[in-house]
Every structure is written in structure tokens, then in C-alpha cells.
């Protein structure tokens, strides 16, 4: 399968994502510049971390209007898997592909440290290989990761199983101390209703190999590969059924359906 790694002016985790996709899990990957308007041939889109457009105005506010984002939206609406990491998550929020918004961290500090996140749902293409309740050690590095959504929005997220990751302690308990930035309900990552668009503040691409301190992030990338392989099987089955249906229709029509 082939990953599109979108590059905005100011992205700085694009190469890490590329490395995770190609060198760590052995898939194809290609950089896609923010002015491109074509995502055909790609199976998964990653919006990497960084400081697109210098984070001016608000993080992600300007990047969301980049030409490539029209295509990312189209890709997402067609059900394609989209992963926004850190600044990529902020861009998805600004674009309205995910609900809520980011505020400055509660303590105003840029937090760069290891965190533990608990997988709340395995229904997304990026968590399919995870066990619900599984705790991953994945680092964060952000100044604006204080996830905000109003009460009604939070209820919606919970009712639709859109909370994908929560900050916890090492044993998976949600505690105030394990919340690094003040996010509502310790939220570290969410998905859209369909589940195919996922955003998270922690960096799985920075925790794909043991020598980086943790290889826990790898499962995020492996999950989408497994998910797409599964979809491929489903697609092939559908195509086969379509062919059989056409064949039956042709037979019913006395083999004349080819003539128009």
C-alpha cells in the first residue's frame, strides 16, 4: 500500500512519518507538497506534525486552506483513512474534518515528554490491531494541545465512540496528573463519526523502534496496513459479486445486454 505524507511549509515530522511508513513497516510512501491537487493512487493520507505556516493566527488555521486540503477532504469523505498527527490533528480540527479545537496548554509550557495513552476504541483503521484498553508509550511535543469541545460535543463524542486515545498513567488509569496539557476528559486523540479520520497529539512515528525508547507507535501504522488489506479482500469479493450479477442480468436478458 502507498502512504501520502503531506508536506506544508513548516512541517517538520514529515520525514519521520516517511521513515516509519517505508523503512519501519516496509510500505510505499511519497511526499505530497501542499500545492498538489491529486491524491489518486494513495491508500492512506498522513498529515504530519510541525508548525505549518509558522502556526500564525492559530495552529493549522492557514494550512487548512492549502490546495491539497480540498483533495484530503474528498479522500476522507470517500472513506479513505486519514491520520493527523500533532499539527496534522490541529489542521483536521481547523478544516472541520474533526470536531473541537485546540487551546494553549493549561500551564502555557511547550511539553516535550513521554506520555501514556490508552486505546479507547479499535474501530478505526489506525487502531484495528490494538486491544481496547491497551496502553501505548508515545511522546508528545506541543504547546497547543489542550483539546477543547463543549459539553454537548463531548457527549456526542462519547455516544458515537469517537474518543480514540486518552492520556493515562502507565497502568492505564485516567488521572489529572497524567493529563499533560489540560485536554477535556484527558483526550489525546479522536476520530470522525465514520472512524476513518483520526487525529492525535502524540507522535507514533517517533516511537516506532526500540532504540527510540518505545516501539508502541508502530501498531498505528501496522493497523492501517492490515485494515486496507482487509478492505482489499472485501473489494475483490464485491467485484466478483458484481461480475456474477452482470452475468445473471445478461443471461436473463438473453445475452443481449451488451447491445445498446
Amino acid at each position: 500500500m502507498k502512504f501520502a505524507i503531506v508536506v506544508f511549509p513548516g512541517s517538520n515530522c514529515d520525514r519521520d512519518c516517511f521513515y516509519a511508513a517505508r523503512d519501519v513497516i516496509g510500505q510505499e510512501a511519497e511526499f505530497v507538497w501542499h500545492t498538489h491537487r491529486d491524491l489518486s493512487g494513495f491508500d492512506c493520507v498522513i498529515l504530519p506534525g510541525g508548525f505549518s505556516y509558522g502556526d500564525y493566527l492559530r495552529s493549522g488555521a492557514i494550512a487548512r486552506f492549502a490546495p491539497v486540503m480540498t483533495e484530503v477532504e474528498r479522500f476522507a469523505r470517500a472513506g479513505g483513512p486519514v491520520l493527523g498527527i500533532c499539527n496534522g490533528f490541529q489542521i483536521l480540527l481547523e478544516a472541520g474534518l474533526l470536531p473541537g479545537a485546540m487551546l494553549r496548554n493549561r500551564d502555557l509550557q511547550f511539553r516535550c515528554e513521554e506520555t501514556f495513552i490508552r486505546v479507547e476504541t479499535s474501530r478505526t483503521p489506525f487502531t484495528g490491531l490494538c486491544r481496547e484498553g491497551q496502553v501505548l508509550k508515545v511522546p508528545i511535543a506541543h504547546g497547543e494541545g489542550n483539546y477543547f469541545i463543549d459539553e454537548a460535543g463531548l457527549k456526542d463524542l462519547e455516544a458515537n465512540r469517537q474518543i480514540v486515545f486518552r492520556y493515562t498513567d502507565a497502568s492505564g488509569r485516567v488521572t489529572p496528573e497524567s493529563n499533560p496539557n489540560g485536554s477535556v476528559s484527558n483526550i489525546a486523540g479522536i476520530c470522525n463519526r465514520q472512524g476513518n479520520v483520526v487525529g492525535l497529539m502524540p507522535h507514533p512515528e517517533r516511537s516506532c523502534e526500540g532504540m527510540l525508547g518505545s516501539a508502541d507507535g508502530r501498531v498505528i501504522f501496522e493497523s492501517v496496513v492490515a485494515d486496507l488489506a482487509g478492505r482489499g479482500v472485501a473489494r475483490a469479493a464485491n467485484a466478483l459479486m458484481d461480475r456474477q450479477t452482470i452475468h445473471q442480468v445478461e443471461k436473463a436478458a438473453g445475452g443481449a445486454s451488451g447491445c445498446r
Partner: protein
């Protein structure tokens, strides 16, 4: 020529970490009567001549689409006509 003076503030009820930090700093310096500080953004946008209603609609739209995030922020603006000599 129009000059739009735009203010973007966090909505009431949305935690303002910057405002809280500034409040703390002011109180530390002895301004004990300070109750609350909210930090926002101020923008000046100059627009070429057009009707007032048109200009207002355009500023309103840019505030909604880009300059503020309606999930967490609210905006307000004043629009003043500048003399033509201010045209660049």
C-alpha cells in the same frame, strides 16, 4: 478605503491559559484588585473602496472563515472609512 479593526477573543467559559498567567503576574506585582484578564487578538485590515454594506459583509465573512475559530472564539469589529489619500 476602509479600515476594519477586528478583535478576536476566547468565548466566555473557554479557559484562557494566557489570561490566567498574566493575571498571576499582575497580582504578583501588587495589583491585588485585578479580578480577571483575558488575552485576545487585534487585527487591522485595510480594504479597497466599496459600499459599507459590502465591506461589512466581507469582513464578517473573513472573520468567520479564517480570522476566528467559532468553536472557541468570538469576534467583533469596527469599520471606518479612510480618506482616499490613505489608498496605497
Amino acid at each position: 478605503m476602509w479600515l476594519a479593526r477586528i478583535r478576536v477573543m476566547l468565548k466566555k467559559g473557554v479557559l484562557d491559559p494566557q489570561g490566567k498567567a498574566v493575571l498571576g503576574a499582575l497580582q504578583t506585582q501588587g495589583y491585588k484588585r485585578v479580578q480577571e484578564v483575558r488575552v485576545g487578538k487585534y487585527l487591522e485590515v485595510r480594504l479597497h473602496s466599496m459600499g459599507r454594506i459590502e465591506a461589512e459583509a466581507e469582513v464578517e465573512e473573513m472573520c468567520r472563515r479564517l480570522l476566528s475559530n467559532p468553536v472557541i472564539e468570538e469576534f467583533s469589529f469596527e469599520l471606518d472609512e479612510l480618506p482616499e489619500s490613505a489608498e496605497r
